[in-house]
């Protein structure tokens, strides 16, 4: 017993853990990513055909949000080594040393299991299973496997960020329909140009190079990245119109989204065209900023259409 007391008195608290504040644990949830997940999942719930009790919709949204937070915590647990090497991420709780990796792992696993169980038991089993797959995909497929292996990490890993509106949709309908796949595809195709625009920034690119993360600009160079950004942006344009073909959206969404798509393409062309100096850097920053706004607006348009009771097109697909 005296040995235990001596150990307790002499061991520094940092070695024991328990140093993290409530704010540190909140930061583990990646609140900014979580807010995007909540918004897109909410749109999925609203866009889905049929109705769900508002309380059940709230429970679904809460479970999806916590599941996203769990994925963030597990990502920070696994990526603590490379996070410590990058300026952008060095102040995260695990590399900063205020939360132990084991604490982040336990926190993430608890939230992951809890959110999947809540969604599966209180909403529906299909939605719970899809949330479980989303967390698995983000951690095992993206974080553990693809992120450090291939410059296509963002392309395939982007699927994890594209699932939330589908999970929201399935929470209402209980099945994966073409309309939910259309919402999935929009975020899936949006992810590469969005993150590659960020990765082209000099200081971000230097971060990835230092950490050995094979982002496309690091491996294939900025010129190839610019070409890929343009290709994905051009492919994104018709995909954005898919919800109208599946009968989810109508004329207002279609016309406004088409106009927003033209602006997106303009920014991508600017990134492709301007390759040197401050102008090139500015073009990348503008594309990154606009792409964030673009995704918000595209999903907000669906909400607006539903809110105003505007009619959707008759489904051509499905």
């Amino acid at each position: 017993m005296s040995d235990l007391n001596t150990y307790a008195a002499d061991t520094p608290a940092t070695a024991e853990g328990g140093q993290g504040s409530v704010g540190d644990y909140f930061a583990l949830l990646k609140p900014r990513v979580m807010s995007l997940v909540i918004f897109t999942a909410f749109v999925g719930i609203i866009a889905a055909p049929g109705a769900v009790h508002p309380w059940i919709g709230f429970v679904a949204l809460l479970a999806i949000a916590v599941g996203a937070g769990a994925a963030g915590a597990l990502n920070m647990w696994y990526d603590a080594d490379i996070d410590a090497m990058m300026k952008r991420t060095a102040k995260r709780p695990v590399p900063k040393g205020v939360v132990l990796p084991s604490e982040a792992l336990g926190f993430g696993l608890t939230l992951a299991v809890g959110s999947v169980l809540v969604l599966g038991l209180l909403v529906n089993v299909t939605a719970g299973a899809l949330l479980a797959f989303t967390i698995f995909f983000y951690i095992a497929i993206y974080t553990m496997w693809l992120k450090r292996l291939t410059p296509q990490n963002i392309v395939i890993g982007g699927a994890a960020g594209a699932f939330p509106p589908m999970v929201g949709w399935v929470s209402v309908t209980g099945s994966v329909d073409l309309g939910s796949i259309a919402l999935f595809l929009i975020i899936f195709m949006w992810t590469p140009p969005h993150f590659w625009a960020l990765a082209l920034w000099k200081k971000i690119n230097a971060d990835y190079t230092n950490a050995g993360v094979p982002m496309l600009p690091v491996v294939a160079g900025p010129d190839e990245t610019r070409r890929q950004i343009l290709i994905y942006t051009l492919l994104l344009f018709p995909i954005t119109l898919l919800p109208s073909l599946t009968g989810t959206t109508g004329l207002f969404y279609t016309v406004t989204t088409a106009a927003l798509g033209v602006v997106f393409i303009y920014h991508a062309v600017q990134v492709y065209r301007l390759r040197e100096g401050v102008e090139a850097e500015t073009a990348c920053k503008k594309l990154f900023g606009f792409s964030t706004l673009w995704l918000f607006l595209v999903f907000a348009l669906i909400l607006v259409e539903r809110g105003l009771g505007l009619p959707a097109f008759a489904p051509v697909l499905g």
């Binding site: 007391n5 008195a9 328990g18 993290g20 409530v22 309380w55 209180l122």
Partner: protein
């Protein structure tokens, strides 16, 4: 209780953080109880009192 028994590896700031974490955990647990209770009521629906056994 001897002196060694009262020593902990945590200072006053650490203990304050732990207390705040514990308080938030208690709130979350309480919220979960409410969540499950209300969801059960919503799932059962309004006709539950009239059902035939």
């Amino acid at each position: 209780m001897n002196d060694a028994m009262t020593k902990t590896p945590f200072g006053p700031e650490d203990m304050s953080r732990r207390k705040k974490r514990a308080a938030v955990m208690a709130l979350i647990l309480f919220a979960l109880v409410v969540l499950f209770f209300v969801t059960t009521i919503v799932r059962l629906g309004s006709g539950v009192a009239d059902r035939a056994f």
